[in-house]
């Protein structure tokens, strides 16, 4: 199926029958993979397909249960990351393996030969970062840096060891489109130098754009290899998911009703040193409207959600109005009683208690707003277990939550299924106002399209919806209007049809409408 550089060339890296078992569960099952010298090779797959497990074995973090790794044609055992680095494998992790309390230079020094002095490392890092267009200050503390800058440290750290293979795990999930473009330029430069890149992603467009070949994983098995440039996103998605992904449908001519959510020049000071302060935020969301708030992580999304949901009430009662009533000082349950629903991000620990069954998680969220349905005995507040259980069943059915057993622990569900449940928990009430933060973060494509469709249907039924998301594809799929949050400031909303990906990207990078366009065009 694939045309390689001639059959005689020995691949830089070959993986033969690599398997990793966790108990009885095969995270990776007899994986076969070839990466040629000087190619950008994509490893495609949904969450839980086994991509991360595979690269952890290649980098010596995990020990394979069975199988073989060939490096330049010779079988090798990679026992530790240090050994992987010595052989010429560099890795940029998805969740950065950086030390926040240390400086950039110290972070880099940790993965290098201990004989090299810190000052020399600073110099080399500075010159490398210039050569590859990755600006960095070696003396800065990591805690003070943005996500994009942190990723640059990881890349420079990997490059300093002059690797012949660099593994990148979901590198663009935290970047603006412009930052991603810069990363791609760096990758092309590496490719021109004859280095190989193993690029892990579930973003089909960028894989098609930059990768020479792709290997697709599903449920821990290789489902095929292809030239991504010759495939369509739909055909790649089919290989990844194993079936066609339901397309999200939206009725373009939705009627808008009264204003349901109103925020009037709200400013909130930062609660902690690493939090973002909200600056003069105003918004209006009408019934039938989905306002999507785009932005790079850490620009005030969490703080905005906290203010909207009442998790941290604000000082001015009139700064936030839900369905016409001032609620600024009202707590989360008070706002729920007015007909609002909230889905916070982080399903484990924030939106759900992992060790509790689904029915308890339902009750925790809705014991006040649905007191009459779930509690009995007046002031005694005795739980009506039958009612809670049947509501749990109803939600699981409506959202197609796949689970083992009648009422399993929230933590035992896969990410996508738990996310469907916590979104469904609010949708079940048919809230007039719904605020969702990162509704499909880290969720497989099937579950994501189900959740997005449910949000669209809710708005169509006459609710006002706010979706805070970092995923631009998602934003374009669901939003009727789009605003961008950057450094705690919210842009004016724009009709979704009037915005391009590029324009949003510039706004996300903090370049606001007031700047002249030529300057903006320079930014990438």
């Amino acid at each position: 199926m694939t045309v390689s550089e001639g059959p005689a060339a020995v691949p830089l890296l070959s993986v033969r029958g690599l398997t990793k078992l966790f108990g009885n569960f095969a995270a990776c099952d007899a994986i076969e993979l070839d990466v040629a010298a000087g190619e950008i090779h994509a490893l495609l797959g949904e969450n839980g397909a086994g991509k991360s497990t595979l690269v952890k074995m290649l980098f010596g973090v995990l020990e394979p249960t069975a199988g073989q790794i060939l490096w330049n044609g010779a079988p090798v055992t990679i026992r530790s990351p240090g050994e992987a680095r010595r052989r010429g494998i560099g890795m940029v992790f998805q969740h950065f393996s950086l030390f926040e309390a240390l400086t950039v230079a110290e972070n880099i020094a940790l993965s290098l030969d201990p004989k090299i002095s810190l000052s020399r490392i600073s110099d080399e890092a500075a010159s490398l970062s210039k050569a590859y267009g990755l600006p960095l200050d070696p003396k800065a503390h990591v805690a003070d840096l943005s996500v994009g800058e942190r990723q640059r440290i990881e890349i420079v750290r990997a490059l300093l060891q002059n690797p012949s293979l660099i593994i990148l795990d979901e590198p663009t999930s935290v970047l603006t489109p412009q930052e991603a473009d810069r990363l791609f330029e760096t990758l092309f430069k590496l490719k021109d130098e004859g280095r190989s890149v193993l690029y892990i992603s579930h973003r089909l467009e960028e894989v098609r754009r930059i990768c020479d070949r792709a290997t697709v994983l599903r449920h821990g098995k290789v489902r095929g290899a292809c030239d991504p440039k010759k495939e369509t996103p739909a055909s790649l998605a089919r290989m990844m998911v194993g079936s066609d992904v339901a397309e999200v449908h939206r009725d373009e001519t939705a009627k808008l009703g009264d204003v349901q959510i109103e925020m009037d020049s709200l400013s909130v000071a930062a609660r902690t040193p690493f939090a973002v302060s909200l600056k003069n935020i105003s918004m209006k969301v009408r019934a039938g409207e989905i306002l999507a708030i785009a932005g790079v992580a850490g620009n005030g999304q969490g703080e905005l959600f906290d203010a909207l949901s009442g998790e941290y009430p604000v000082a001015d009662d009139n700064a936030i109005r839900l369905r016409g009533k001032p609620v600024g000082r009202l707590g989360i349950n008070g706002r729920r009683l007015l007909g609002a629903g909230f889905v916070p991000e982080e399903r484990h620990g924030h939106a759900a208690v992992a060790a509790m069954p689904l029915s308890d998680n339902l009750l925790l969220a809705r014991s006040q707003s649905d007191k009459r349905a779930f509690l009995t005995g007046g002031g005694m507040s005795v739980i009506r277990h039958d009612a809670v259980r049947s509501a749990t069943r109803r939600i699981c059915q409506a959202m197609d939550v796949r689970k083992s057993g009648e009422d399993p622990q929230a933590g035992s569900l896969s990410g996508g299924n738990l996310q469907k449940f916590i979104v469904g928990r609010e949708l079940d009430r048919q809230p007039a106002v719904l605020v969702v933060n990162q509704p499909t973060w880290g969720v497989d494509a099937g579950a994501a399209s189900h959740i997005r469709q449910a949000l669209i249907d809710l708005a169509k039924a006459g609710s006002a919806v706010v979706v805070i998301s970092q995923d631009l594809d998602e934003i374009f799929e669901v939003a009727t209007s789009i605003a961008v949050i950057s450094e705690g400031r919210l842009s004016k909303p724009h009709a979704a049809g009037a915005l391009t990906l590029e324009r949003i990207g510039l706004m996300m990078g903090g370049i606001h409408e007031s700047h002249s366009m030529p300057e903006a065009a320079d930014a990438h």
């Binding site: 980098f59 010596g60 973090v61 995990l62 020990e63 530790s80 990351p81 240090g82 050994e83 680095r85 992790f93 950065f96 393996s97 950086l98 030390f99 926040e100 309390a101 240390l102 110290e106 020094a109 940790l110 993965s111 201990p114 503390h141 805690a143 902690t272 040193p273 690493f274």
Partner: protein, 304 residues
């Protein structure tokens, strides 16, 4: 008069500084060992016993260091190898140490000890006033100053110290970089134990050269507070240790002069000072975050 007070302040402060420095290194690696009091008292009884049998307080010092380090090894085995809860294990270590040392030292009660003699450094000790105070001290005082310089250099200048701080900040990432998390933590815990043992030796060889049950008298707990007080930086341990030593001695003198304050209140002064300083420190959250080992007290199990 003033010179005499200064001398007693040094004697009272040295064990606090030494024990806190050891705990600082252990905590910088991410291990919270609440057993300082227990390791200290074990060091004290080992030092006293060895000195008594050999007649040499220097062998006593070595025995104290070995006693503290060996005892900390028990903590290391439980928390690092068996991944037991660090807080509970540390408390158990203190209780066990207090009991075990009482048992070992039963026959030493009331026996005369041998005092560690000062080493007078020629020339320097002839500097008027401070020279005599600072340069005719016992070995453990000189060691305490050397330890501060050495630990500061180790943590912030050496590559091994960088690795230690990295482990304390994020042990998962450190493991992924190929740093031996458990091995370094064992070494850090044993260093902490050795320092606590040395501090204990100072108690039974310098402070009061005899064996008294429970003679550590809560100093291990003050040392623990000192580490937080110093926000995990070695030189601040010196400042904090001497502040506590001064308050303790000042409190004794105030009692001697019959100042009309209840003695219980005066004895509580060092602890009240800890609370006040902790409140002041916690005000600057950014510096605290940069210095606090983020994985402190968290168990590490490599997922291999």
């Amino acid at each position: 008069m003033f010179e005499a007070i200064l001398l007693t302040v040094i004697t009272a402060s040295t064990p606090l500084v030494v024990a806190a420095l050891g705990e600082l290194v252990a905590e910088r690696s991410g291990v919270l060992n609440l057993g300082v009091e227990g390791m200290m008292i074990m060091g004290a009884v080992f030092a006293f016993a060895a000195t008594r049998y050999t007649g040499s307080p220097y062998i006593g010092i070595l025995a104290g260091i070995a006693g503290g380090a060996l005892f900390s090894l028990l903590f290391g085995f439980l928390t690092l190898t068996l991944v037991a809860n660090q807080v509970a294990t540390g408390l158990a270590l203190t209780i066990l140490g207090l009991g075990l040392s009482g048992q070992i030292g039963e026959s030493f009660v009331g026996q005369p000890g041998i005092k560690l003699q000062p080493i007078v450094i020629p020339l320097l000790s002839e500097i008027p006033f401070l020279g005599k105070v600072l340069f005719s001290q016992d070995l453990i005082f000189y060691l305490s100053i050397a330890l501060i310089i050495g630990i500061h250099w180790f943590l912030f200048r050496s590559r091994a110290g960088l690795k230690l701080r990295a482990i304390g900040d994020n042990h998962g990432s450190a493991h992924a970089l190929g740093i031996h998390v458990i091995r370094m933590r064992y070494l850090a815990v044993m260093f902490g134990g050795a320092c606590a043992g040395l501090a204990g030796a100072q108690l039974s060889l310098v402070y009061t050269p005899q064996w008294v049950e429970n003679m550590s008298a809560g100093r291990g707990w003050i040392a623990l507070a000192l580490v937080v007080f110093a926000s995990w930086r070695p030189w601040r341990v010196l400042a904090g240790g001497y502040l506590f030593g001064t308050v303790t001695i000042g409190q004794l003198h105030a009692q001697a002069f019959g100042i009309g304050v209840p003695t219980q209140l005066l004895s509580a002064l060092p602890y009240a000072a800890t609370i006040v300083v902790l409140i002041i420190i916690s005000h600057n959250r950014r510096t605290t975050l940069i210095n606090t080992p983020a994985s402190l007290g968290k168990p590490f199990v490599p997922d291999r």
